[in-house]
């Protein structure tokens, strides 16, 4: 619990209106986009780096947990106050400080909404590619802390590929600035990469320098159905080998297709194992030819049907099928456990087979969709949180699916982060030694274990 004296001090730092104490308001910061919730003792909404610093120092002095948070749309439990303490909502720090069109750099505060930044830079003919599913509501600070990805990652990379510099308040209350507007910098350890994806456990990110690129002129979209999953995977590889790098290569398995078709009759084929949604972007003059080549490659690799969008409406129709997935799948069961393993691209068919086998063994409803270009799959288990027996089976199945991913040379998380959801499985991938290196970094930087305790590491002595 936080003492009244501390609450009064916090109120003096940020102002009364930016401290939420009622149970009702605190409950609204107890959750994220996972099914879990933990009531924080207090919610504070700082307006500047200095205010963040003062609160971090206070946390060290009085040893209370501090949980940085953007808009709470994470899917790994990263912003859940599992040990209580103070949730620090950074959404008031939402200024785009600079869009440097000459050096192609944007400087933003942590609470800027990702989509807002994209709108602003695109109005200037520039492009910030990372596009996590929640980009219309997520914050850049949250994206950096979780190293968020998105469908465009295969061609354009993930958030960390765009972070040029950071301002971070360390767990002991110092303000650190690393990097800046230069694309190259090898000065010292690569602290930018250390902080990016650190899930709020090593520092509170307050300001970010982001690399921008020119906006691609046009895009072209197509939908291809495959009676056999292996043919879909092989087609993806053939396309890339041909020198064409599509911006998105979304895959939906048979069960996902059925769900979408049941929910909204879109005329999707129900007799195929996979559908690929392929989009290429770049100079307009190149796209027709690229689309033609992709169509030919898919056809010679066993595609059943190829439809290329010639108009905006047709393009919209293709993406509508993909967008309908999240609503369609919860029609089966209300709770959706969304995983995000990644495997080497050619292991996708084997991974899908293993996932289906696991789901069958535990009698669970499973749909698989994801990003075929980078092997990042989202197996979604559909269940009902109120059914305890089912939830136990879900837990066992998740353990097995992580094991399968690692066996195939893959990873626990492609873009959601470890948080609390995957913490118990971390050693499976990192091994004891790797885990130990991470733990020593955490202890060195945050000796009092103030920042976001209970995340990433799953151990008795932490928290």
């Amino acid at each position: 619990m936080i003492s009244n004296t501390v609450i009064e001090t916090i109120k003096k730092i940020v102002g009364d209106e930016n401290v939420l104490t009622s149970k009702e308001e605190r409950l609204c910061y107890a959750y994220d986009s996972t099914p879990n919730a933990f009531l924080p003792d207090l919610v504070v909404r700082p307006g500047s780096t200095e205010e963040v610093q003062s609160i971090v120092r206070l946390a060290n002095e009085h040893r209370f947990p501090l949980i940085p948070r953007g808009t709470g749309t994470g899917l790994s439990g990263g912003s859940l106050p599992v040990k209580g303490g103070v949730v620090m909502d950074l959404t008031r720090m939402d200024k785009i400080l600079e869009i440097d069109e000459e050096n192609l750099v944007a400087v933003v505060e942590a609470g800027v909404i990702t989509y807002k930044l994209q709108e602003e830079v695109e109005a200037r003919g520039l492009f910030y590619p990372p596009d996590p599913g929640s980009l219309k509501t997520s914050t850049i600070g949250g994206n950096v802390a979780e190293n968020a990805g998105g469908p465009r990652a295969f061609k354009y990379g993930v958030t960390r590929d765009y972070v040029l510099g950071l301002e971070v308040v360390t767990p002991q209350g110092e303000i650190v600035s690393v990097g800046g507007k230069t694309v190259k910098s090898v000065t010292g350890y690569d602290l930018i990469r250390l902080y990016t994806g650190s899930e709020g456990t090593l520092g509170i990110i307050t300001k970010i320098y982001l690399r921008l690129i020119p906006k691609p002129e046009a895009k072209k979209t197509m939908m291809v159905s495959f009676p056999r999953l292996d043919d879909a995977a092989r087609s993806v590889t053939e396309i890339i080998k041909r020198g064409i790098i599509p911006v998105t290569l979304e895959i939906m398995d048979d069960r996902t297709i059925q769900c979408v078709e049941n929910y909204k009759q879109m005329g999707l084929p129900l007799d195929v194992e996979a559908i690929l949604i392929i989009e290429v972007d770049g100079p307009r003059v190149l796209l027709d030819d690229q689309a033609k080549q992709i169509a030919e490659l898919c056809q010679s690799n066993g595609a059943q049907q190829v439809s290329i969008a010639e108009t905006d409406e047709e393009r919209e129709k293709i993406w509508a099928a993909r967008r309908a997935v999240s609503a369609a799948v919860v029609q089966i069961k209300p709770t959706k456990i969304s995983e995000d393993i990644a495997v080497p691209r050619m292991a996708i068919p084997e991974m899908v087979r293993r996932l289906k086998e696991i789901a069958k063994r535990y009698q669970l409803d499973l749909v698989i969709f994801g990003h075929a270009g980078d092997g990042n799959l989202h197996p979604n288990i559909l269940c009902d949180q109120r059914d305890q027996d089912e939830m136990q089976r879900v837990e066992k199945a998740i353990g097995e699916l992580f094991k399968a991913a690692v066996e195939l040379g893959g990873t626990l998380s492609g873009e959601h982060g470890i948080g609390t959801m995957k913490a118990p499985y971390l050693k499976l991938e990192m091994g004891e030694a790797g885990y130990d290196v991470m733990m020593r970094i955490k202890k060195a930087l945050d000796p009092n274990n103030i920042l976001n305790p209970g995340k990433i590491f799953w151990s008795e002595n932490n928290g």
Partner: protein
């Protein structure tokens, strides 16, 4: 809505946060308790016995525009406004509603005589010089808060209510059909010109108009959790319009219209459903039921359109008003950005939460300004008051008008 249904809906919320992108209140405040995801979680905690109907809970549940933007965005189409209304009703039942509101819903709104007297007193306050004196003296400023500014939101009352200016039946020699007109309180007491414009348009389409004695639609009571008063009003209106013997009941107010459509679900039974099925918004009626013919008098202006939440999302009417505007002689239509985003009026929300409503409305004003239009048309008197208030305050030279008044201008006097 019964508890089981509420629980089923709550269980569908995956807390994805999609509502945050749509919610005008979240957009301005970034406060999680103000967005659908937060509210649904609070309602769930209340139903699970983990929260009381505290003062804080009442405040947070009143901080909703009921604009339905979140539902539109929700992958599971959760009817958030209905759930918020249910909990407001629960709060009203357990904790009661304020003395003032109770009096208004249970006495004034149920009695047109008293309502007319109140409107007359407001008119006298404005015309007798008392309003001038009050504003000049600064006494409202002394009372603290935003009272001085809020007082300006109080619209100028009509000297004689619209319905008292016309007979109940406006007969024509060779009518094509007879329709009924539900005027709504604001048209009746504040904007009689809107009422005259509606009648003028209908007459120009050879329609005989009947305006029966009628009552408030009940939405102010329902929005405050007083369902019983809303039901009483609904019953009175259903009976009044039954006697009119028409196939269409035309509304000029988005909020009234959406409420009248709800009568079937509110009180059930075939009479209520029969009534609700006859209700049609003016622009939808003109665009889809009759063969709309505008007058040939050049209007000569650039017009943008604001979608009232209760017309667009509430009744699914989006294209009809645009189609009508585009067909008017000498009118250039300019679509504004975020035309369907709430203006912040939301019934009396702008009185209770004046500053917050203005922040929401400021975004609307910016979008209106950016459209380049000189006139903004809409179909909700409550939106008209809010947008008009903000345009005046921000000194933006754009005129706000009811769509009916714009259309009516095209006919020769």
């Amino acid at each position: 809505m019964d508890k089981q249904t509420i629980k089923e809906y709550l269980n569908r919320c995956s807390k994805c946060g999609g509502c945050m992108a749509a919610c005008p209140l979240f957009g301005e405040t970034r406060m999680e308790p103000l967005v659908a995801r937060g509210k649904l979680f609070l309602i769930k905690n209340y139903l699970d016995g983990n929260l009381d109907l505290s003062k804080k809970m009442k405040e947070l549940m009143s901080l909703c525009l009921l604009c339905k933007a979140c539902t539109d965005q929700c992958p599971n189409s959760i009817p958030v406004d209905q759930l918020v209304l249910s909990i407001r009703q629960e709060i009203a039942q357990h904790k009661g509603i304020s003395f003032v509101k109770k009096n208004i819903f249970q006495h004034f709104l149920q009695n047109n005589g008293r309502l007319n007297t109140a409107a007359k007193m407001a008119y006298l306050y404005q015309r007798s010089g008392l309003q001038w004196l009050v504003r000049k003296s600064g006494v409202l400023g002394l009372l603290g808060g935003d009272l001085a500014k809020k007082e300006k939101l109080l619209p100028e009352m009509a000297k004689v209510p619209f319905r008292s200016q016309l007979p109940q039946l406006i007969s024509l020699s060779n009518p094509q059909m007879r329709v009924a007109y539900y005027t709504g309180c604001v048209t009746n007491y504040v904007f009689p010109n809107t009422g005259h414009a509606v009648v003028n348009i209908l007459k120009n389409h050879s329609l005989e108009v009947v305006i029966p004695e009628q009552w408030c639609c009940g939405i102010p009571a329902l929005a405050s959790g007083d369902e019983a008063s809303a039901v009483e009003l609904a019953k009175k209106n259903i009976k009044a319009f039954q006697e009119a013997g028409v196939d269409y009941i035309i509304t000029d107010c988005a909020s009234c219209g959406s409420m009248l459509h709800e009568y079937g679900d509110l009180i059930g039974g075939s009479d209520a459903r029969f009534f609700a099925d006859k209700v049609v918004d003016l622009s939808q009626f003109l665009a889809e039921v009759v063969d709309f013919v505008p007058g040939d008098k050049e209007i000569g202006c650039e017009v943008t359109y604001h979608d009232p939440c209760h017309l667009n999302r509430g009744q699914g009417v989006r294209e009809a008003p645009r189609k009508l505007i585009k067909s008017l002689p000498g009118v250039v239509f300019r679509e504004m950005k975020e035309a369907d985003r709430c203006c912040g009026a939301a019934g009396s929300f702008n009185l209770t939460y004046y500053d917050l409503a203005n922040k929401v409305g400021h975004r609307k004003v910016c979008n209106i300004k950016d459209s380049g239009a000189s006139v903004v048309a809409t179909e909700c008197p409550s939106c008209i008051m809010q947008i008009g208030h903000l345009l005046a305050m921000e000194q933006v030279p754009v005129e706000v008008t009811h769509l009916a008044e714009l259309i009516s201008k095209s006919y020769k006097e």
